[in-house]
Symmetry: C2
Subunit: 129 residues, 2 copies
Amino acid sequence: MKKIQRSQCPLANALDVLGDKWSLLVIRDLALGASTYGELLQAPEGIPTNLLADRLKRLQAQEIVEKTAYQQRPVRYSYSLTEKGNGLKPVLLELLKWGLAYVPDTRLPDAVLGKINLKSVVRNQSDLD
Amino acid sequence: MKKIQRSQCPLANALDVLGDKWSLLVIRDLALGASTYGELLQAPEGIPTNLLADRLKRLQAQEIVEKTAYQQRPVRYSYSLTEKGNGLKPVLLELLKWGLAYVPDTRLPDAVLGKINLKSVVRNQSDLD
DNA sequence: TCATGTTGCTTGCAAAAAGCAAGTCATAAA
DNA sequence: TTTATGACTTGCTTTTTGCAAGCAACATGA
């Protein structure tokens, strides 16, 4: 069932996993502290529930996201980024900076401003921690 | 027919433009020196010609790419990155570094190695190890 | 002049993915 | 017993993707 890779280019391979409109938004929300399925559904972009389920499966298969049951009866799950997932934070930050710089009518919500260190315009892995 | 934006998040807006499997690959090739339609078609990933035409149109509409006729009789066109398009290079670099660091069986072709600031790639790659 | 080739696309169509609404299942609380 | 919540799944329509062809404007060679 595994697809063969389009090329050995690391960028093409990254896009095979992340090249859609939702995956990086899910990763954004996990990076900003969301952890349950319900919280991820609350994102302002309104991801359809079947797509959220699909993306979480794919991201788990890629070991970018992990799922753990944090309680039993009733069982409740929490999602979080793996180390590989955390490795995407510099990507999120560069895309964010590009959007802010070049796409009109974009801004960071105040709630997010507190979590990101935009002063360090240089990429810094701990910016989104 | 301009779509309304999903949210004001700069990341979401960036993904509305770039969130697919081909756009950033086209931008990669332009950044690496490709300039004609035919050259862009030669990318190892094998982009279908109708999708290349579509992506070039969309990227021009977003002012990420510009098209100029560099000769008449016969008319020949060259594509290049605008300043907005060049602003995506840090994004390409971070995605590339992530792919190199975390996706198995990826590598940079020798032809590309000469064109990229290898120091920054290597330095950050070791940070991720 | 005619056949052939090259560049830069467009068109048609089947298959895959996205998007929307509704349904399901295991509890838990009222 | 009814209602509610979390975490999804299913069904169906619309949109996008991915081939394969086709086409127009020249250029070149016989």
